[in-house]
Symmetry: C2
Subunit: 243 residues, 2 copies
Amino acid sequence: MHPLTGDARLPRYQQLRDHMVMQIANNRWRPGEAIPTEAALAAEFDMSVGTVRKAVDVLVAEGVLERQQGRGTFIRRPQFQSSLFRFFRFETANGERVVPESRILAITAVPAPSAVAQALGLGAQAEVIRMQRIRLLGAQPVLAEEIWLPRQPFQALLEVDLDSKGPLLYPIYEHLCGQVVASAEETLTAEAVDAVHGRLLHLPADSPVVVIERLARDYAGKPLEWRRSRGHAQHFRYRIDIR
Amino acid sequence: MHPLTGDARLPRYQQLRDHMVMQIANNRWRPGEAIPTEAALAAEFDMSVGTVRKAVDVLVAEGVLERQQGRGTFIRRPQFQSSLFRFFRFETANGERVVPESRILAITAVPAPSAVAQALGLGAQAEVIRMQRIRLLGAQPVLAEEIWLPRQPFQALLEVDLDSKGPLLYPIYEHLCGQVVASAEETLTAEAVDAVHGRLLHLPADSPVVVIERLARDYAGKPLEWRRSRGHAQHFRYRIDIR
DNA sequence: GTTATATAGACATATATATGAATTTGAGGG
DNA sequence: CCCTCAAATTCATATATATGTCTATATAAC
């Protein structure tokens, strides 16, 4: 039994929620693992099971945890393959979803442009890794991405052959660099394609492209990656539910 | 004290939630009004306050109700001005948000095209109201909308001067037709503008436009309106949070 | 009449307890 | 070795109760 460290003026269930977010951010439990049972947490923090449940309710609503009746409560692994591919529908001729292949055009360490440094919360001339890649369906390019990462925790990316590790970057970040992407903010807009991206995407001049900018964060909210993706507008379809 | 009518195999808090959704859909309470207190509901349905709170929790999470400590629990009025204007940023030169004016180009009753009938859940040749309008910032058209409504509950719209009642339709639906929009689903995509909409929006050929299709429903989930809006891509910027 | 103050009403937090339902584990039987 | 079934574990539902906090209203003081 040990005490909560947070702001004692807050409700106890909020204190426990904050405490658990910290524990998750500090890797006390890994994604996919079970947290202690409600009874164990109640004993550990000397509160009733009802209060523990309320704290867990909040984290479930926030998408951090996932309950399974009879099994336990688990750290949820964010499903980012669904994120980008909720928007872009890449399908084969017979209609099944596919993840486009990845071809990396360049990956280098450079001083951060000011916009990137600001997005990632870095100092003015911090070193960042810049990656350019193309996503392809067969021979057809469908998405052009530029990706920026702080150099320090992601140094290892410069020393391996990324194309051999599959098209999804976030599992690579986790296994190679120990960085877990937990949430992201995206901004979405459309524009007429410029000359450079028209060539990359095999699009005629002035074709409409969708532009998605994404800032990905870890469990503690620290920015890990900033990227900008441009894709064919025909492939783009996004659905929103209001209220 | 009277019994719940729903499926008795469901948890009681779910039964109460379902019951209250029906009451709201049947206008037992209007948007903005307070529902009975937790103690009163507990007495009315012969359950504990804790169970009532859980049912209310669900409706609050769904955005149907809104709690105010010390005052009561209220039917939430959806804020749809924020919906479209979370996507499109219409601002004056000095940066303040504005709602574009509305000019209705046409409003007529016609047999429903099959796609519209399907979206609205109507029979094959049901009568619908078709409205075309342009949204303007000063002299500049920024949005072209086509709006489809089932004729029966919205007949009154054909008999008044809509342009004199301001640019927001949902308050008009509520006051003139007694129809309250409670939720909506939107689908978002981009395309190159066609000749007709290029003329309407004063855009050169092949400019990128964002297309938003919306199906609006009442509290019971019945479709009330289907619309398709096209707007300048430059004005469009949408932000999403993913976990 | 205006301003404090007290009170009542309503939701918020917290605990305790009992029972139900889904899952896992492990003992026995074949 | 495999299958079945019972028991233990864990979350889900439901109730009861006490106290705190916020709001609105009524009362008292000036």
